[in-house]
């Protein structure tokens, strides 16, 4: 009898502890996920009752001439971020890992931009990017006889300018990840490399970098997943302009759903979100398998 009572009390406690997770995940994660599949097949604008329209939303999105522009721009952003932004944290971390004095100061400085709220950073950089010769960056370029550069005003300059700011804002986080991984390089490997006559660069190439291979793959995938969803920079810097040169997929989703004049087309917005998610799912699966393997 008493064990029965204890068990009942035990399961009551379990329910109490389960409730927050079930409620929050149920309402704000699982249900919206299910709903996005349903909504992508519906015509919904909150005014008229939702009706099923099959794959019409997907067709409408694919027919939108802006989709090609947005997809190209998003790929361009991701590619630029990869070429310029990906090596930066790696190089910084490898050099920093060999600093003997005040290494804490180095990592603190490197991480500082990460804690600046992105909206603040963008507004600050928008001022730096002033196209006039008296703008902050153009003044600096002027010292070397370069520029002035029309940072955000010119369609071909706008995206690289966005990538530059985004790299500044994000690199520190990746540096910390690499530094944490570099702590665990077995010292014997360096000793052994030296016995074999390896110089400093040879050690970096044959010991340090191979040790980081796994984590480099993870940061690569995380970066691609992150940059494909870029929204804040194009929204706040240029609002997709000039001439749609920085219109990204997420900006298009936002416009479908929330823009003042054309918004309210929630079906199209979810259809496009799902297509992006499908493309990213492959990467997410790889990421998940990798982290699982490392954690076991």
């Amino acid at each position: 009898m008493s064990t029965l009572l204890a068990r009942a009390r035990g399961s009551a406690a379990t329910v109490v502890f389960l409730l927050p997770m079930l409620l929050v995940f149920g309402l704000f994660s699982w249900w919206p996920i299910v709903r996005s599949f349903v909504m992508s097949l519906q015509q919904t604008n909150l005014v008229t009752p939702a009706e099923f329209v099959g794959l019409d939303n997907f067709r409408a999105v694919l027919d939108d001439p802006l989709l090609t522009t947005a997809a190209q721009n998003t790929l361009w952003f991701a590619l630029l971020a990869l070429v310029f932004g990906y090596p930066v944290p790696l190089v910084l971390a490898v050099v920093m890992s060999d600093v003997r004095r005040a290494r804490g100061l180095y990592s603190m400085l490197a991480y500082l931009p990460v804690v600046v709220p992105p909206a603040v950073a963008v507004l600050l950089w928008r001022f730096f990017y002033d196209a006039e010769p008296t703008g902050v960056f153009n003044t600096i370029l002027g010292w070397f006889g370069l520029g002035p550069v029309p940072w955000l005003e010119d369609p071909s300059w706008a995206m690289p300018s966005l990538v530059l700011e985004a790299t500044w804002a994000a690199a520190g986080g990746t540096v910390i990840i690499y530094l944490a991984a570099l702590v665990s390089v077995p010292p014997e490997l360096y000793d052994a490399a030296e016995v074999d006559g390896a110089g400093i660069l040879a050690k970096v190439w044959h010991v340090t970098l191979p040790h980081l291979r796994g984590i480099m793959l993870i940061t690569l995938i995380l970066q691609i997943i992150g940059t494909s969803q870029v929204f804040l920079e194009p929204y706040l810097f240029t609002d997709g302009g000039p001439d749609n040169a920085t219109l990204t997929i997420l900006l298009l989703v936002y416009d479908y759903a929330f823009a003042n004049t054309t918004g309210g087309d929630y079906g199209k917005a979810t259809a496009l979100s799902l297509m992006l998610a499908g493309a990213l799912a492959v990467l997410s699966v790889v990421y998940f398998r990798l982290t699982r393997r490392w954690s076991e």
Partner: protein, 325 residues
């Protein structure tokens, strides 16, 4: 404040299971005194004149680079926030302001009502912190220690949300918050709508569950034998031992809420409810430059101070704890 700084190391009990788990080498090596751990260059190499010179140039150059690139813009912002607009426009890179105008900060705080948006941000950050904490800790406790039937499936369902990029949920989440299932509550334009969804973080649940998995089983079993119920076990034994992981979840929760932009932009259309990140771009369009810069400085002062106080938690590699923990 200084007591907080000094207490940070104390929140890591020496023998307690760190995020690293019991049998891994101590993580502290990175902060160990110089000379104990070796890095890429050997002591022998560092004594060679050519290498020594190269290292001075490389490390010194890196420090200068970091100072200019990472700290520079923030120092520039601090200077320009108290400089009259005309001076900033005429000579943006002047090292020292021509005239100092402290009133900018006051104008930003009072006249463009930055204090309202500041407190909105504080409320959202605290709510987000509390939600994430409750969900992660109770969820981790159920999944790791109580383990009712079906908890493996449940954990799988939680982890599966990691596959779904957050932004994909933007629109369906908005429509859910607009008209909550069963209750038909509308949380748009409420702080609840802004911070409750942050609780659905699979990352947090996984982090806390893994930490609980590494707690000494004997202690929990012993408490059970002594007739410790689920609640006593939770509040009396598990929570007090979880300070390290709670600290990590907390600092990242608060910072993420302070930085968040897209979700509050969508869920809080009412300007009087908006946090700083959402409000600043609108204010910047209609306010004089020196006041805007003062507003930007105020908006990033708290997260920077927060980072400086808790830097150990930020800098020891949050992802590594999650990946390998």
């Amino acid at each position: 404040m200084s007591t907080l700084v000094q207490r940070t190391p104390a929140t890591e009990p020496e023998p307690a299971p760190d995020l690293a788990g019991p049998q891994r080498p101590p993580r502290r090596r990175r902060t160990a005194p110089e000379g104990e751990s070796r890095t890429i260059t050997s002591a022998f190499e560092r004594r060679r004149p050519a290498t020594r010179a190269a290292r001075v140039v490389l490390n010194g150059g890196l420090l200068v680079f970091l100072l200019i690139v990472c700290l520079g813009p923030i120092l520039w912002l601090a200077k320009s926030a108290i400089t009259p607009t005309q001076d900033t426009l005429r000579d943006p890179l002047a090292l020292w302001p021509n005239g100092v105008d402290w009133t900018n900060l006051r104008t930003a705080w009072v006249e463009i009502d930055l204090r309202l948006y500041f407190w909105n941000t504080v409320v959202i950050a605290l709510g987000s912190w509390a939600t994430q904490m409750v969900v992660a800790v109770t969820g981790g406790y159920v999944l790791s220690i109580l383990r009712p039937r079906g908890s493996r499936v449940l954990y799988g369902l939680v982890l599966s949300t990691m596959f779904v990029p957050a932004v994909v949920l933007l629109v369906p989440l908005y429509l859910t918050v607009l008209d909550l299932p069963f209750t038909h509550w509308n949380l748009v334009n409420t702080f609840w709508g802004a911070f409750l969804p942050a609780g659905a973080s699979a990352f947090n649940v996984a982090l806390v569950k893994r930490f609980f998995d590494n707690l000494p089983r004997e202690l929990i079993d012993a408490a059970r034998v002594d007739g410790c119920g689920d609640f006593r076990l939770f509040f009396g034994i598990v929570l007090p031992m979880s300070r390290p992981v709670l600290g990590v979840v907390s600092v990242f929760a608060v910072l993420a809420a302070w930085k968040d932009f897209v979700w509050p932009l969508v869920v809080l259309p009412d300007p009087a409810k908006q946090p700083l990140s959402v409000r600043l771009p609108r204010l910047a369009a209609v306010t004089e430059l020196d006041v805007v810069l003062a507003a930007l400085l105020i908006s990033c002062a708290l997260p920077i101070a927060f980072f400086l106080v808790f830097q150990r938690l930020f800098l020891r590699g949050g992802l590594e704890g999650a990946v390998k923990g």
